[in-house]
Symmetry: C3
Subunit: 410 residues, 3 copies
């Protein structure tokens, strides 16, 4: 009992290594080393250095953006300030700067003539076909309003009257180009609990008040002149101000946290977001309608309707942070080592098929054992096998790791 346990333990603490054939051949030896070198170069250069496969990456960046626009413009003969031209006013990460307003003042509930040309009519029947229209300025009543001396009338609508006439030409507020946008962005990488702000804490009040962002000379100034932003997107300023548009300000945080945290800085880029629709015949620009509501002395509601063409700015924060971690390193190292082994596949094919003396190499590499041999051997010495086995009890571990401990070879 004690003896067999000791045998078990002895059998367990063995070490199994594969038997190798070493081929001393210049041709295949050089090919072997070149293939290995290529594989190592690929893994070291591309996978590890370029792709940083030894890092774990946090892509779940948390971000908070606060914006503040400053500047004054003249529009409709009035000076407008930030409370007038920014929507919404709370300084969110998506905001619109109004560039052109079509104002329809003193609208009361009632019935009046439509202004849009497609609702012109001669008889009431002409208007009936527009029932349920949504491109009008109100509910089509089915009545054609036409004074006797006119050749063509307009359908009547019910709703806020008088209706908006958006065919009037209004010069856009080009002052928008001089407006500045202040962006305060704080981010956090929850996996590493790293928090960063978009401008250095060493910046003084004076520096911030006077600086303007420039990609090369002032890349960390958080104040952006609208003109610069539009120019970076390569857009026509006049067209944008006239029809409106959507501009994306992308703040990209690519942080290698294996380096000093001070290198974790934002990178700004600017795109026109509605660019995919530039080729479309329709739906260019950006506009929306809103109203201001008033009451007459006797309590009747009326409103001023605004159709605002605006430039919408979307501050989009993206980024990821990487930091050394054992798991990706290990997995990629294993992949690397295994890949080096795969070089033998190519060399084996060359060695065993194309090299002079391939048959000899095969004879060296492969040892053959066939069922016939085994059966013959079993038939010859049924007793000897048993006698050999007496006294030698093997412990077989579970296959995967050390497949089986061998018997004593004869």
């Amino acid at each position: 009992m004690g003896f067999s346990l000791s045998i078990c333990i002895t059998d367990f603490f063995t070490y199994e290594t594969s038997k190798s054939v070493v081929v001393k051949s210049w041709s295949v030896g050089i090919i072997n080393r070149i293939v290995q070198l290529l594989i190592i170069t690929y893994f070291v250069g591309w996978v590890f250095i370029h792709e940083k496969a030894y890092q774990v990456t946090d892509t779940g960046i948390e971000s908070s953006v606060m914006t503040k626009v400053k500047g004054f413009g003249y529009h409709h003969g009035k000076v407008v300030d930030v409370a007038d031209y920014v929507f919404p006013q709370q300084g969110a990460d998506v905001f619109c700067i109004m560039t052109r307003l079509i104002i329809t003042e003193n609208q009361f509930q009632g019935k009046c003539a439509e202004s849009v040309p497609m609702f012109s009519c001669n008889t009431d029947e002409d208007c009936h076909k527009h029932f349920g229209a949504i491109l009008s300025n109100g509910v089509i009543t089915g009545v054609c309003l036409k004074s006797p001396d006119e050749s063509e009338g307009q359908c009547e609508i019910e709703g806020w009257c008088p209706v908006e006439n958006d065919s009037v030409k209004i010069t856009p507020m080009f002052d928008v180009n001089n407006f500045t946008i202040f962006i305060k962005n704080s981010i956090r990488f929850p996996l590493f609990d790293v928090t960063r702000g978009n401008f250095p804490s060493t910046m003084t009040s004076d520096e911030i008040k006077k600086c303007t962002f420039h990609p090369e000379t002032n890349p960390f100034c958080p104040i952006f002149r609208v003109r610069d932003v539009l120019q970076h997107t390569g857009q026509d300023l006049a067209a944008l101000a006239y029809k409106g548009g959507e501009i994306g300000i992308n703040i990209e945080w690519k942080c290698n946290l294996d380096l000093d945290i001070e290198y974790c800085v934002p990178k700004y880029s600017f795109t026109r977001l509605d660019a995919p629709f530039a080729k479309n015949a329709v739906s260019k620009g950006f506009n929306f309608r809103f109203a201001k509501y008033f009451k007459t002395e006797n309590g009747t509601d009326f409103r001023t309707l605004y159709k605002a063409y605006a430039i919408r700015f979307d501050i989009m924060v993206t980024g990821n942070a990487g930091k050394f971690d054992t798991i990706p390193t290990l997995i990629n190292l294993v992949a690397a080592f295994t890949s080096i082994g795969l070089g033998t596949v190519l060399c084996d094919i060359i060695l065993l098929n194309f090299l002079k003396g391939a048959e000899q190499y095969k004879a060296k590499k492969f040892e053959e054992v066939s069922e016939a041999q085994i059966e013959a051997s079993l038939a010859r010495s049924p007793g000897s096998q048993l006698s050999l086995k007496s006294g030698i009890k093997n412990s077989y571990d579970s296959g995967a790791i050390s497949l089986a401990t061998p018997d004593q070879p004869l």
Copy 2:
């Protein structure tokens, strides 16, 4: 010196391949090939074709959404248009369409009776227990307002008076079903710098104005009828209009950039976002309060308070894009090849344990060398080992790749 360097180089350019035992046995041979076939099928079919493991995936989709609602409704005897019923008005990706309004006009600052039944009282003491209440319509003063002929009074509040009475029955604005939502969505996959819009650039102005989204017949029309959206979520329209609710419009971009870019198109789906709360006894629907502010002639502020039941639409853009890349391909190929090798684990277990002649196979596969043998051999020929080694200097490369170059075997 020159001689030993030449030996070094010769030793370096060797090729080491594992010595194999080839078992010519039908049973284990067939099992071997079947296991290999299964592993290959799994990798080719599932990992590579289905899961596209050869692609690198960009999940950091950047998206910009612009919305525009059109349509007219009747509510409280007035025609309301988009400037009246959409909040916020700028066409954001999250917007509410008001379906039912409880209007409390002409509220002035002052003191008045609470309307909510839970604040009924007989004496001032009844009201004292409500100090600091937040479910009232104003600050509880602690006074019970009760005329002598009434059996029950109401606590007095300080705040905007008169208070809102939200128990009035208002018919929802069912016209909302005919409203249309125009969605303009442009996305970008930063990793591949691919930009797409949610409707094809070949769509003409007329097509867009006339079409309505339908999942089968018109899957790329960007105009959605509210009724259709609600129906796709399987919701009761009347209940939604009455209590409000949250509807998600999901735009999913799953792009295989190995194919033509024209196949990178959006897929729309619709869900009721507050569905997890459907079973709850509380907090069904969606409503919020807002106010419009006015001034009397003498400058006193007053307001009209609105409690708006609304359907909130959240446009949620998700998606990812995949494109062939060498790194995931390589890693998965290595995993595949290594897995094929793992088939030998199973076959070895069968071969060495369950096959007839297992001991013979073991004898063939394993060569044993014990410490005792080595010591005996060292004792026998201490000189011979040295003599053999004289003149043969080995270069041992660093272990990992070519573990060690062997001496000449005797």
Copy 3:
């Protein structure tokens, strides 16, 4: 023909296993097992149990947030309610609670003196240098407004008059501490189609109305007292109310979907988002300007300008869900098995270099074959090789899987 096909098939159904050397040595055997044990421990303990490498993870959480603030405060001698102090009013996931208002009433378009000290002047020339200034309250006209008896005047601006004077001291509305925020959050993991709400469906109306969130005693109550939220972030309440600030309420969903779905619950945490800027000399706090617009009897527009200091709350929903999946399991198992094999690298180095009898072990592990031997053997028996090959046609499968079937060794 039939005969050679049968040979082909026989050759195909062979099984190739590497020939191994089993070293019966205590020292290297123990090292081998310890290294294997360490690798297994690492994979089982860290990779599989801690990092859950057997799961596929959905990080693309879809979320919808609805908020509702309740409470009353006194500010500027008036009672303000939710319609007055929350911006925007629709209950979005980012909202501001106003804590201090600087009110500038009855602003009309016109010209008047600037209030900011930096625009003081003695002559018009002093003002000319401010042309185009954006830190003023309107467009600098270049005129210095100065009464003869004053030592110093102020530059004139054109815009909304009178200008705001934000140096007045206003006591913040400290009542904000007693306000409550109700958060309704529904999330979805699209990969697994799992939908969850942030409070259990078993919660009754009464429970929700009465509860207040507490991280330990009431972690699932969706009602948060503002004071508690601020305290959890460790912020000074008075400073926050005075200067404003940004507070993040993070809802984290970490769901192991291999467990019961009821364990998939939110975890709340609170941070001050503008913390990275705490050290900065500038831009502390949070404020924005908005205006309410009125009309005089004769139709002239005027407005009341508000500079609102506010606490902004950002509800940020993050999370991921994991569920068992074969692909990551397989890839990590392969990595694990391959890594176990890598233990032999270390042991081989020890065995073949540092152990007593290393040369003998090398002789056992490596079989050498050199070009010289092969050439000698080819020269000796050019005929025998051919004669042996006659009648024996081998099928060579494609190298990768079964590298080559060997010839019969002599």
